[in-house]
């Protein structure tokens, strides 16, 4: 440790306490950027998080990276002792599960592409069920004839399955190596990697075009949630 670090010991401990309290109090995972807003400039939040993770590592509660940020979670090995907190979970059908996996590993992916993987059509209900779980969202549209909607996973998906990011999907590297994530054939050319990055890809466009948004705005501002928000600001 440098001298500077030593003299900064107390304030560092204060910062750790604040970080701990913030993460503890927040109902959602907090990202580093979000957290950094709470500290003075120059405070290395990432480093503080690492410290906190180490402090909690042997404890019954862990600080994990999940779903777009960091959050405290009970240690997985204690699951048998915590069964009374289990929430009833709606079981996904075989089809829904398969579709979820396809979306997770192939995102951004259109319905036609999902159907290509499955070799059959999927019913609208299947996607609805997945959208309802909050694990899947409509991302945008593919720049292709018909402008089909592209689907991807959400931050809720990550936090549900305890993943920090989509690259934590089990066996992802293996699938990639086997060329199984490539939609085009023959295998072994370019291997795309699934991405739930909110930024649309080159072959994607926003869900609604500007004209569509304008048309909606004309339909009545009250019915448009986005428009409503900006109105609110002016009150």
């Amino acid at each position: 440790m440098t001298d500077a670090a030593k003299t900064g010991h107390e304030s560092e401990n204060d910062a750790l306490r604040v970080l701990e309290a913030l993460l503890f109090a927040s109902p959602q995972p907090l990202g580093i950027k979000e957290l950094a807003l709470e500290f003075e400039e120059g405070v290395d939040v990432a480093q503080l998080i690492e410290q906190l993770q180490q402090i909690y590592q042997p404890r019954g509660v862990h600080l994990v990276e999940t779903g777009g940020g960091f959050a405290f979670r009970t240690a997985v090995d204690l699951a048998p002792m915590l069964t009374k907190y289990k929430k009833v979970q709606k079981k996904l059908s075989k089809v829904a599960l398969e579709t979820l996996a396809i979306i997770a590993y192939h995102q951004p992916v259109t319905r036609a592409e999902i159907e290509d993987v499955r070799g059959v059509q999927i019913s609208k209900g299947t996607l609805d069920v997945l959208l309802e779980t909050g694990w899947v969202k409509m991302r945008g549209r593919r720049r292709a004839p018909g402008r089909p909607i592209t689907y991807g996973t959400t931050e809720l998906f990550l936090s549900q399955f305890g993943m920090a990011r989509i690259s934590d999907l089990p066996g992802l590297g293996e699938l990639k190596g086997a060329g199984l994530l490539d939609g085009a054939l023959p295998p072994g050319f370019e291997v795309p990697v699934p991405s739930d990055d909110d930024a649309l890809r080159a072959d994607e466009e926003p869900l609604f075009s500007e004209e569509e948004l304008a048309a909606e705005a004309e339909l009545g501002a009250e019915e448009d949630p986005l428009r409503y928000k900006s109105d609110e600001d002016e009150i």
Binding site: Q89, L100, A101, V117, G119, Q160, F161, G162, P186
Partner: protein
């Protein structure tokens, strides 16, 4: 079954494994549950313990065709896409048997088609596997838990207000004007010079004795604004008539529309106010006498 593909070993396995009636029934019962030809192909692989990693499409095609033919034998209704797949597999098998040279130039080779099918089977199988693996992961609210009582980070909304100076001034001017219009209406009523008022004013002035002075000069002071002018002149004229009748003044006019001259008759020592009031009373009495 005469066209034997390359992997004879597995084929023998298949022959040896040739479905007993029992196996057949299991698959038959399951047919409704299959999600299309790919699903059925995967199920066949699994039932026949065919390794997807070393998949021989020719071998699988044989089994699929055999299976569908068996179904047809039993006169089952078979969905069209299963039959399409069967037909395509027959085509594929024949392509695979053709020597490369004989293949038409533009068409994809049999081996490429086979690789495509193998890829799709492997991919579907992998996705099924991953779906299961996903669900096997520890899950939130199942195997690990979040803070049961998150206190939340209280958000205090701090409104910052916006207003421009111009808006402020416009608001001020606007309302002052509005309010003034309201008052203006009331004031207009008051702006009428009553005859009594005119008479009071006149009496006050006549406290000093006046020898034939033009009335217009006397009231010039009060002639502000056009509206006031009319009412003042009219009421003053009325007042002079009253006062003349009461014998307080004398009036003289040389012709139509010429200035009206006034002269005090009784330049007594009474206070102007009293004079103003007293004659008024007299007037009332006088009227009563009329």
């Amino acid at each position: 079954m005469t066209n034997k593909p390359t992997s004879t070993a597995s084929d023998e396995e298949w022959e040896a494994d040739m479905p007993t009636t029992q196996d057949e029934e299991v698959l038959l019962v399951d047919l409704d549950g299959f999600e299309g030809p790919l699903d059925l192909l995967l199920a066949l692989c699994r039932a026949k313990k065919i390794d997807l990693a070393k998949l021989s499409i020719a071998e699988l095609a044989t089994q699929y065709i055999h299976y569908i033919e068996n179904l047809k034998k039993h006169r089952f209704e078979i969905a069209a896409d299963y039959l399409v797949m069967a037909a395509w597999l027959v085509f594929l098998k024949s392509k695979l048997l053709l020597p490369k040279a004989e293949e038409a130039g533009d068409e994809p080779s049999g081996s490429l088609l086979a690789a495509q099918l193998a890829f799709r089977l492997k991919r579907l199988d992998a996705m099924r596997q991953k779906g299961k693996e996903l669900m096997a992961l520890p899950q939130l609210d199942q195997e690990f838990f979040t803070n049961g009582m998150p206190q939340g980070i209280s958000v205090v909304v701090q409104p910052t207000y916006k207003a421009e100076l111009y808006e402020l001034l416009k608001a001020y001017a606007g309302q002052r004007e509005r309010q003034n219009q309201q008052y203006g209406y009331k004031v207009k009523k008051r702006e009428v010079w009553s005859i009594k008022k005119a008479r009071d004013r006149l009496s006050a002035m006549l406290g000093i004795s006046i020898e034939w002075a033009p009335i217009n000069d006397l009231i010039a002071l009060f002639l502000q604004g056009e509206d006031m002018q009319k009412t003042t002149v009219a009421s003053t004229f009325g007042a002079t008539l009253e006062m003349a009748r009461d014998g307080l003044i004398e009036l003289r006019q040389s012709g139509h529309f010429t200035p009206l001259y006034v002269k005090t008759l009784d330049a007594g020592n009474d206070q102007p106010k009293e004079r103003g009031q007293k004659p008024a009373n007299d007037r009332m009495e006088g009227r009563g006498d009329d």
